[in-house]
Symmetry: C2
Subunit: 243 residues, 2 copies
DNA sequence: TCCGTGTCAAGAGCACCGCTCTCGCTTCTG
DNA sequence: CAGAAGCGAGAGCGGTGCTCTTGACACGGA
């Protein structure tokens, strides 16, 4: 009918999606390095060379999987943020951290693709940066909201004006306008702890070390949220914390 | 001469070492996934099948590289700890964190091998756990020393007895005997932040975000060392901190 | 309706990979 | 000194990403 959806175009779109789905399935079983165009083609009943009509190289297929992965975790983060009372900034931050961890534990190989060793010859194209920062944008919005609503207390005073960090971190800072540098720096530390902790879990570092990983993660995140300067105001609820 | 060092044995030891060295060189240029036995053999002027006399499989060569990597960072950590006045526990902890980062930035591909995505088919054999925890043992010793010398102040009171974390983390806890659970848990968080931050740097996450990475790292580590409950007693020096 | 154009799957082939096996040769050892 | 063990070279297996050519098919304009 319409010029933009001929039978050919529809078939192409469907096949492209099928390739991505099968590739993601193989990612889950064999990991990123084990992703094989030939294996995908075999599973589709096609010949490997035919796949190059849809993805010019293995790296392009990988890029697609990476973008999809960033979008998946980004959406999970945005949804978990939206599910919490907007006034409860501390609760939102805790929820967002849990969302990242939950998604990562459910999709370990995709997480490894996003936050593990970079693929040697591969460098992420520009298309990936948008999806890649969706989670960080949410972090910035929460901290920004907290500051705007006065629920953020400066930890130990701001950084001294002479500090080299005082004028750095522009990209992060513009996500949370007005927030003092000391808090921005601590937010970055929280982010590093989040991904460090999740990587420890997903990559197996904590395997024979911690049994109660849920409790450890929750306790750590709540502790750091408080360390940033966020108190659970408004509702007494939300960030129960320990003790 | 002596029964244990025939010409053959010496040649074997030297060739084995040469294989490892060339493999490490290729690791630095091509990454772990690009490590090729055939390429190593080519560079040595040998035939690929001959390498199997020295390493039964590519994974065994990888294991050797992993063990060497853990030993290298472990030694760097131990040396940096020993270089600081033993009384200055906060300074020791800061120095150890910097040692990890410095080594990682100098050997990014080896760091990726140790703390990046696990290789799909590969699972680390038991020989690796000893070298793998050398750095963590140093962390434990520092925290233990701090507690024993009374320089560790409990942050907000210990964890409640009923907390599931109170009886967990046995492996970490026995590295720092007597230290209260609340501090142990925070030490784990510090460790996660350290490796999260270093991974951010090595894997390029901070590439267009932070310019003053040295300052950011140092500031973050000092902040978290204080957060654990460590104050710079004894000497006023050592942990200058911000503000 | 028909025909040129563009898209498609398929196949052969290139260079590379990890790994196995066999074959002579050297070296060590009883 | 003779047998055993270690060694490098070579051929070969099945796998990989990727390229190029070929022939069939669907599409859209005349």
């Amino acid at each position: 009918m319409s010029s933009s959806s001929t039978a050919r175009a529809r078939a192409r779109a469907e096949l492209t999606q099928e390739i991505v789905d099968i590739a993601r399935g193989q990612l889950a079983t064999s990991g990123a390095a084990g992703l094989s165009l030939r294996a995908v083609a075999r599973e589709m009943g096609m010949v490997s060379s035919a796949l190059y009509r849809y993805f010019p190289s293995r790296d392009d297929l990988l890029t697609r999987l990476i973008i999809d992965g960033y979008d998946a975790v980004g959406e999970a983060v945005e949804r978990s943020d939206a599910a919490v009372d907007p006034e409860d900034v501390a609760g939102r931050l805790v929820a967002v951290c849990h969302a990242v961890r939950t998604w990562a534990l459910a999709h370990p190989h995709e997480y490894a693709l996003l936050h593990g060793s970079p693929v040697p010859g591969y460098s992420a194209p520009q298309d990936t940066v948008g999806p890649a920062v969706r989670d960080t944008v949410v972090l910035g919005r929460i901290i920004g909201d907290a500051w705007a609503s006065g629920r953020l207390v400066l930890p130990d005073g701001d950084l001294p004006a002479g500090s080299p960090l005082a004028d750095d971190l522009d990209v992060v800072r513009e996500m949370m306008p007005g927030v003092p540098a000391a808090v921005v720096v601590r937010a970055v530390a929280l982010w590093a702890t989040l991904y460090g902790m999740v990587s420890f879990e997903v990559f197996g570092t904590l395997d024979n070390v911690v049994r109660e990983r849920d409790a450890l993660f929750d306790h750590t995140v709540r502790g750091l949220v408080a360390w940033i300067g966020l108190r659970a105001d408004g509702r007494g609820d939300g960030v129960g914390g320990a003790a």
